[in-house]
Amino acid sequence: MKTKEYEIIFNKEDVQQFVQLLGDPNPIFQCQSEAKVYGFETIPLPPTMPMIAYKWIETPWKLQHPLIHRKQQCIQHQRMYIDKPYKGIVMITDQFQRQNLTFTKQTLHLYNKDGILYFEGISDLISGGLS
């Protein structure tokens, strides 16, 4: 099972809101000029930020509450930046049932416009079921 493909663009305000809530003072996330001082073309994304792409992706399946996040693995294959268009897809890569619980491995893939993989976020979730 997988979602359709969504275009995802993170903007400067998204990054600023994200680092502000974390209290993250890293200068590379503050503005373009600071990012350039450290050799970046523009503001890069904080390492966990690609996972919020979920808010723009509609999954055709619903994991029933209570939904518990058991494990998370993320691989950033390339640096991701603000204002770049990415393509996002989520797929269920494994699933099994034990007693009344459903164990789901769900993977977020983010590609650039040329289809090069930039990010994988593999989530192990426990839910009350799947509909």
Partner: protein, 115 residues
């Protein structure tokens, strides 16, 4: 080995819900959390990871270092108001991280830096 701490506040959880659109009631509704067997509202797993990696990057690494890969297991809930104590251990291949609330292990994982 380095030890650092952070606290998860109610505001952190509410703001993370707004940023991520993850409004699972176990994070935001005390009664719902209690009905699910928790003693308080719990932090989003990715909020905890984001805080851990922010501290790692700012306290122990150069600002521009890319975290190529990270993996964390959520062993116990991190509750709103909890202080998390992080223990960072550098090995040849990775930075290993354990997070404890009081003496209870709540998160364990590792980070690989870009080669």
């Amino acid at each position: 080995m380095n030890t650092l701490t952070f606290r998860i506040t109610e505001e952190d959880v509410e703001q993370y819900a707004d940023v991520s659109f993850d409004y699972n009631p176990i994070h935001l509704d005390l009664e719902e959390a209690k009905q699910r067997g928790f003693t308080n509202k719990i932090a989003h797993g990715m909020l905890t990871v984001a805080k851990v990696l922010s501290i790692l990057s700012n306290e122990l690494l150069e600002p521009q270092v890319m975290l190529h890969k990270y993996e964390f297991t959520f062993l116990s809930p991190v509750y709103v108001g909890d202080q998390v104590t992080l223990i960072f251990t550098q090995t040849e291949q990775a930075i290993r991280i354990e997070g404890k609330c009081d003496k209870k292990l709540v998160i364990r994982g590792h980070v690989l830096l870009q080669e």
